[in-house]
Amino acid sequence: MTSHPSPDHHSLTRGPASPVLLEATSQVPPAAGGDVLKSGGARPRVPRIPDRIRRGGLPYLLLLPALVLELLIHIVPMAIGIVMSFRGLTQFFIRNWGQAPWTGLHNFKVAVDFNAPIGKALLHSFYVTCGFTVLAVGLSWLIGTGVAILLQENFRGRGLLRTVFLIPYALPAYAAIITWAFMFQRDNGLVNHVLHDQLGITAKPSFWLIGDNSFYALVIVAIWKSWPFAFLMVMAALQNIPRELYEAASIDGAGMWQQIRKITLPSLRSVNQVLVLVLFLWTFNDFNTPYVLFGRSAPEAADLVSIHIYQSSFDTWNFGSGSAMSVLLLLFLLLVTAVYLIFTSRGRKSTDV
């Protein structure tokens, strides 16, 4: 494109060859139209809306729908949730929320009273979730990164493998997890068929969906579900590392392991920062996996906090209490995210210097 936009525009609006545009200008309030004619080739000016606001305001105007929708979809429910947490919103009031009594910090006090049963159960569920998140995020990251690095080498079938590895990420969560639930069944499940019937590793068929093993079942499904995402992100990041670095390193006598430690991992740093955070948030809040796997009451060993909150509000119709727990969860996640970002960003600055 060589033509200069602004003079072109004016010649067009005044030229007889474009009646449509001409008509359009004539509908503009007279002041504006006259202005265009009077100022000739100079920048057009609309007196009623000062230039500064017109230019500065437009982006905001265009953002307005998104902003309003964001308010409606995210902020308003969140605010309502926070308000709910200060009220005794039980089944007696769900028909008319406004009548639910204000209970101040009561819901929060109940939730964090770790000597009483409700607080104790919440704390237990919190610990379970922490353990689950550390294992699931750590192993997802490890597997994803490992596989991405291995698949960097060019070999026949690489494209196919990459596609296959992404399948768990592409499958609808419900379908995938319900399949796992079938596989984990004690009597007819594939897992016990292989472990017990075929390999004879376990002395008798084990339960995976109830009792203590349910924790491992949950971790396995979560890893299976989220490692492809880690794989995808790391794979994309690896494409940006210049080959020359590795060539230079190998000339210097660096082995595979040293190359990974000294070149690959530092280069992945910024991607990993986001990746681990996102994985952490998704995993900590995961609701689908335990809900589909265990139904509406998860075994104690696998009682993740999201499903625990669901049970304390929906199944018992005590929405105030559930909201208070959700607010606590939100605060915790905000805190962890903030600390994580401060910590990792500061670390990066010092290495960059």
């Binding site: 359009a24 200008t25 509908q27 503009v28 504006a32 057009p44 437009l58 105007l61 265009l62 307005l64 729908p65 902003l67 309003v68 929708l69 409606l72 039980t90 089944q91 007696f92 769900i94 028909r95 008319n96 929320w97 406004g98 109940v110 009483a116 049963p117 409700i118 159960a121 069944q185 004690r186 009597d187 068929p205 339960f207 969906l209 109830i210 009792g211 139904g295 509406r296 009451s297 075994p299 104690e300 049970q311 929906f314 199944d315 018992t316 119709w317 005590n318 209490s321």
Partner: protein
């Protein structure tokens, strides 16, 4: 210039519209319905048949009949069980719901407490022919005592002991057990302490409601209740503990239930029964499920569920909960008169016969029970149980919480029993104590 203005205008319009529609959903908080749309009704039916199309096929001709009689068109939606309560809660919260709906009768008091359902006072009952047309126990399961019921009984069900005739004959058992001792003895003849590969009894350890139903009946037989007269939870009374222990012991101590049943929650115990893996199940109206799984009616028998004395009755001889479906009118309906007419139609003697026959249930309307269809062997047991020896689950506002907490406690105990951990009175009491402590006021 022009295009920018247009874009801005569109942007503003969209924002305003979005705001306006979002504000349009507010609910009407005043009580009572109106009659502003007398020509249509929306009806949420629960899923009673083998699947949703089957329900539509059964109900549509009846709704057409109603339309011919009254000129009111009924829009039918069959809601699966897994969604029904959530849908009702959502409708209650928003005030936008159906006009008439089905509820599981154990939810009656909980939903009654929300105030979303039209109370069935004398005037409303009179509009459908009077309260005394219905079986007492069924009306008792439609809301808290001493309050106007929140619903009207529509289909009634009760528990019976279903047994596999061939497996009984093979094990040399002449007649179905009438007491728990006989049931355990017969079960052991079949399961031989778990060595035969076949099992005496089936259970749904992962199904919270199922756990509650059985524990409730056993508690009655131990002279206990999960709630006292004032509606306070009494989960840890010696009778309640003994009841739960007795139930879980069927797996842990008596070894007549397969350990795998601890994780069942999708009616797997019924398919085990149909396949001849287990000889007995305690279930409500299982006939159509057995048929759909390829079991012929002559292969199974139905007997009253066992009680210690061998003779079901009231008090300690209760052998079933009053199970069933109630019909309620949503208070926010725009067609109260039409809704009452519709309930009257659905609970009329003729419709009661047609519908309960189709679903293998028992009519809660006394006059309809005399129909010979409800005297065939499978159904007669359910009917007699319902009339003579069934009791409604506690009709308290926190019933739904009770199902969750105690149901989960029993689920955890099943898991322990299946994992080989000993089930003791102390361990049962621990679990029930935990459950009771989680009940919030």
């Amino acid at each position: 210039m022009r295009s920018i203005r247009a874009a801005a205008a569109v942007a503003v319009t969209i924002s305003t519209l979005a705001g306006a529609t979002a504000c349009g959903g507010g609910g009407d908080s005043s009580g009572g319905g109106s009659n502003t749309s007398p020509k249509t009704l929306t009806y949420w039916a629960s899923n009673q048949g083998p699947n949703i199309p089957a329900d539509k096929k059964i109900l549509t001709p009846e709704l057409k009949k109603f339309e011919q009689q009254t000129g009111i068109k009924v829009n039918l939606e069959v809601v699966p069980w897994a969604d029904l309560l959530k849908r009702i809660l959502a409708a209650t919260t928003s005030g936008q719901g159906p006009d008439v709906l089905n509820i599981g009768n154990t939810w009656s008091a909980s939903l009654q407490a929300t105030g979303a359902l039209l109370p069935w006072n004398k005037a409303n009952f009179d509009a459908i022919g009077g309260r005394d047309r219905f079986v007492d126990a069924a009306v008792a399961s439609a809301g808290a005592a001493k309050k106007d019921p929140a619903a009207v009984p529509l289909y009634s069900l009760s528990y019976a002991l279903y047994y596999n005739k061939k497996m009984f004959a093979d094990a040399g058992i002449a007649k179905p057990p009438a007491t728990w001792d006989e049931l355990v003895a017969d079960g052991q003849k079949i399961s031989k302490n778990g060595t035969s590969g076949k099992w005496g009894l089936g259970a749904e350890g992962g199904n919270l409601s199922e756990n509650i139903h059985q524990a409730f009946v056993l508690a009655q037989q131990h002279g206990a209740d999960f709630y006292d007269a004032s509606g306070k939870p009494t989960f840890t009374s010696p009778g309640a503990v003994a009841a739960v222990k007795q139930y879980v012991d069927l797996m842990g101590k008596d070894k007549i239930i397969a350990p795998g049943n601890a994780e069942y929650s999708q009616n797997q115990s019924l398919s085990d029964f149909s396949k001849g893996k287990t000889a007995m199940v305690l279930w409500q109206a299982a006939a159509s499920t057995f048929a759909s799984q390829g079991m012929k009616p002559q292969d199974w028998g139905a007997a009253p569920a066992p009680v210690a004395s061998g003779t079901p009755g009231q008090g300690k001889n209760v052998n079933s909960m009053v199970a069933g479906i109630n019909m309620a009118v949503f208070k926010n309906t725009k067609n109260t008169k039409g809704a009452l007419k519709f309930v009257k139609f659905m609970t009329s003697d003729d419709e009661q016969k047609i519908l309960n026959k189709a679903y293998g249930a028992v009519p809660p309307v006394t006059a309809a029970q005399s129909d010979p269809a409800f005297n065939v062997p499978g159904v007669k047991v359910l009917k007699d149980t319902l009339i003579k020896s069934a009791a409604p689950l506690p009709q308290v506002a926190s019933e739904s919480q009770f199902e969750t907490t105690v149901g989960t406690a029993i689920k955890d105990l099943w898991a322990d029993a299946a994992g080989g951990k000993p089930i003791t009175t102390a361990s049962v009491k621990d679990e029930l104590t935990k459950a009771q402590q989680q009940m919030t006021e």
